[in-house]
């Protein structure tokens, strides 16, 4: 399944930087070396196995923008699933920015009326990584085809194994694509923080030519398990009941794997969950 994602906005607002960080494993420092995007840069990102994001990173200089609304209008604005418009919070030309945004909306309305539109406000010099990941998680969440089903299955799984919280991450980008929690947690930004921590760790591992497989973190209050889940996802399970041994949780995760694998194949038949109890 292919979904076209338009990335538009003022020149220098950080579109290419963001795309590189989220999908190409750049770290913030790397993006400072990026050159200006000439016209449109196309890239294909494989997400969750059967979903391909067709990213159109559109250069924001005046000459290009004017072109998009005139000679390239149909080519650019047709068949769009998601439009992401990036604003630079420090822009001195708000009127011009608004004018372009409006033209974009008009063009989208004409050519892809069902497209979803997201606005991101970006601050170039402050690298707010948490915010960025949260934003992109929400965007990508909208693109996943069977997200409802994923969530209900995750809920079932968590309840059966008595986990406090379960997170599902996309394998390459480590964006949180689904989660379940049984009670309110203190830190609302924990997902982004965890995504970031694991991503950094993964990068460090790759520098040693090692690949990240799994992690178990324990103290007197909780145990957290991060492991490869399906071919396209990682799972994180938080257990606060100290009487449940690690082995049991790990076995449960292993059994759940097969079920979730089948879910990922969109046309696969529904199966019920079989879990081993302690």
């Amino acid at each position: 399944m292919k979904k076209k994602v338009l990335l538009m906005g003022k020149s220098g607002s950080g579109k290419t930087s963001m795309r590189s960080i989220i999908f190409a494993n750049y770290i913030a420092r790397d993006t400072r070396r990026l050159g200006a995007t000439i016209d449109v840069e196309h890239s294909h990102v494989r997400f969750l196995g059967n979903l391909v994001l067709n990213l159109w990173d559109c250069g924001g200089q005046d000459t290009f923008m004017e072109n998009y609304f005139t000679s390239q209008r149909d080519n650019i604005f047709r068949n769009v699933e998601v439009l992401i418009y990036v604003f630079d919070v420090e822009s001195r030309e708000l009127e011009k920015d608004m004018h372009y945004y409006q033209s974009c909306l008009e063009a989208i309305l004409q050519n892809s009326p069902d497209a979803k539109v997201f606005c991101l406000v970006h601050k170039m010099d402050l690298v707010q990584e948490d915010q960025r990941d949260l934003a992109w998680s929400s965007i990508v969440y909208q693109l996943i085809p069977n997200v409802q089903q994923l969530e209900s299955n995750l809920r079932n799984f968590a309840q059966i194994i008595e986990a406090d919280e379960v997170l599902l991450f996309e394998r390459a980008t480590f964006l949180v694509i689904s989660h379940y929690q049984c009670k309110e947690q203190r830190d609302a930004h924990r997902f982004e923080k965890i995504s970031n921590i694991i991503k950094q760790f993964k990068l460090s591992c790759s520098k040693l030519a090692a690949s990240f497989q799994s992690m178990e973190v324990r103290n007197s209050n909780f145990a957290a398990f991060i492991d490869v889940f399906t071919s396209n996802t990682y799972v994180m399970v938080i257990m606060s009941d100290p009487s449940i041994p690690s082995a049991a949780t790990l076995i449960n995760i292993r059994n759940a794997r097969k079920h979730f694998e089948k879910l990922e194949r969109v046309d696969g038949p529904k199966h019920s969950l079989h879990m081993r109890m302690r």
């Binding site: 020149s11 220098g12 400072r32 070396r33 990026l34 050159g35 200006a36 000439i38 016209d39 840069e41 250069g59 200089q61 005046d62 000459t63 290009f64 072109n67 000679s71």
Partner: protein
């Protein structure tokens, strides 16, 4: 400078960090329309894959030749400087000769920028306008231009005429100098050419030159081909009294063109004799026809040949295209019976070629073929 590669406009285009690709300067002003630029801009300020390559794009009856340059450095906004200095010509113009100049200019500008920030500095960038004006004027007028840029840099560009590829030189071809041999500067040429020069007399063919000058056959061919390319020599065929020639329509030039007449009479007159008359010479040329050998001509026109060297006559006629040689091409008419060497008797190989390749003389070949009922000889 032919009107073929006239430059209509020289432009300097840049990538501006917020405006995007634009034309910063063009001479004459306003030549490239907004519409034209919008159509082709993606080939003027290009994506990385097309950078630093010569690109010619034709649109709206115009041809734009440019070389997009990208200089990467973190000192530039967006980490790179992108620009393109190009020429605009009519879409039908022949622009091959301009291409090396565009490439050279892009190299000059790159060096200037790397050495002294010539382009990124707003003040020095303005000097491009008079530079572009001078280039436009002088390239169109003289085909070359020398321009000092600053105390340490000067631009030199010149249009090199594209010549046609020369013919392949065969072993049985005879090179003859088109200009006076004495005006030839030996020292400017390579060693092989210098070695064979003495043997180029308008009568020796390539194979003979190779043997007498003791230079390998292929080297002689290449050296002569080189001289042919520059128009220093032209090729004629081997002279033999048994050769047959006929006139071409160009023989009329001898009557119409006074300077060709002068040149001809000077060339064909026997040394020590009074100058030959045009009447005699013209009669001799017209006496050449299919079926008439040079030997026949000599016996028929003995009087006219009193003051004329027949070899020089033939040579001049060939060089100027007044006459052409009629060659004999043997063709094997029936299949089956093999006579040696069979593969040469296809109608595509002349007597000259066969003799050269096999070492037979004309007479030997003639005798052999006349006795073979399966071979037909065509004159072409």
């Amino acid at each position: 400078m032919g009107s073929n590669s006239r430059i209509e406009c020289i432009f300097f285009s840049e990538f501006h960090p917020t405006l995007g690709p634009k034309i910063t300067y063009q001479v004459p002003e306003e030549y490239i329309s907004r519409e034209l630029f919008d159509t082709v801009q993606v080939y003027i300020i290009t994506k990385p894959e097309l950078q630093n390559k010569l690109i010619t794009v034709t649109a709206m009856e115009k041809k734009l030749i440019g070389c997009p340059v990208c200089i990467e450095h973190k000192k530039y906004s967006r980490n790179a400087l992108l620009f393109n200095l190009g020429f605009v010509c009519d879409a039908r113009a022949k622009t091959c000769a301009l291409e090396p100049i565009v490439k050279k200019l892009s190299g000059y500008l790159t060096t200037l920028e790397l050495e002294s920030g010539f382009i990124s500095n707003e003040e020095s960038k303005q000097k491009l306008v008079p530079i572009m004006s001078t280039l436009l004027e002088e390239l169109n007028a003289k085909g070359e231009c020398t321009l000092p840029i600053d105390e340490s840099n000067t631009i030199h560009v010149k249009l090199i005429d594209q010549r046609k590829d020369p013919l392949i030189v065969q072993e049985y071809d005879v090179p003859v100098f088109t200009e006076c041999k004495d005006e030839f500067f030996r020292s400017q040429w390579d060693l092989t050419t210098q070695q064979i020069l003495a043997y180029i007399d308008g009568f020796r063919h390539i194979q003979k030159i190779s043997a007498e000058a003791d230079v390998e056959l292929n080297l002689v061919r290449i050296a002569v081909q080189n001289l042919l390319y520059y128009g220093v020599v032209t090729l004629v065929s081997i002279f033999q009294y048994s050769n047959v020639y006929c006139t071409t329509p160009k023989v009329q030039n001898l009557i119409d063109n006074k300077s060709v007449q002068e040149e001809c009479l000077l060339y064909v007159t026997k040394p020590g004799q009074k100058r030959a008359s045009l009447r005699d010479v013209f009669q001799l040329y017209c006496g050449l026809s299919p079926g008439t050998t040079v030997r026949d001509l000599c016996s028929r026109y003995a009087q006219q040949l009193h003051r004329v060297d027949e070899r020089k006559l033939i040579q001049f006629g060939l060089m100027k295209g007044f006459i052409r040689r009629l060659q004999k091409y043997p063709v094997k008419a029936t299949r089956g019976d093999r006579s040696r060497p069979p593969q040469l008797y296809t109608g595509c190989h002349s007597y000259d070629e066969i003799c050269c390749k096999t070492g037979m003389s004309y007479r030997e070949l003639d005798e052999r073929l006349e006795n073979d009922p399966n071979i037909i000889v065509c004159w072409k």
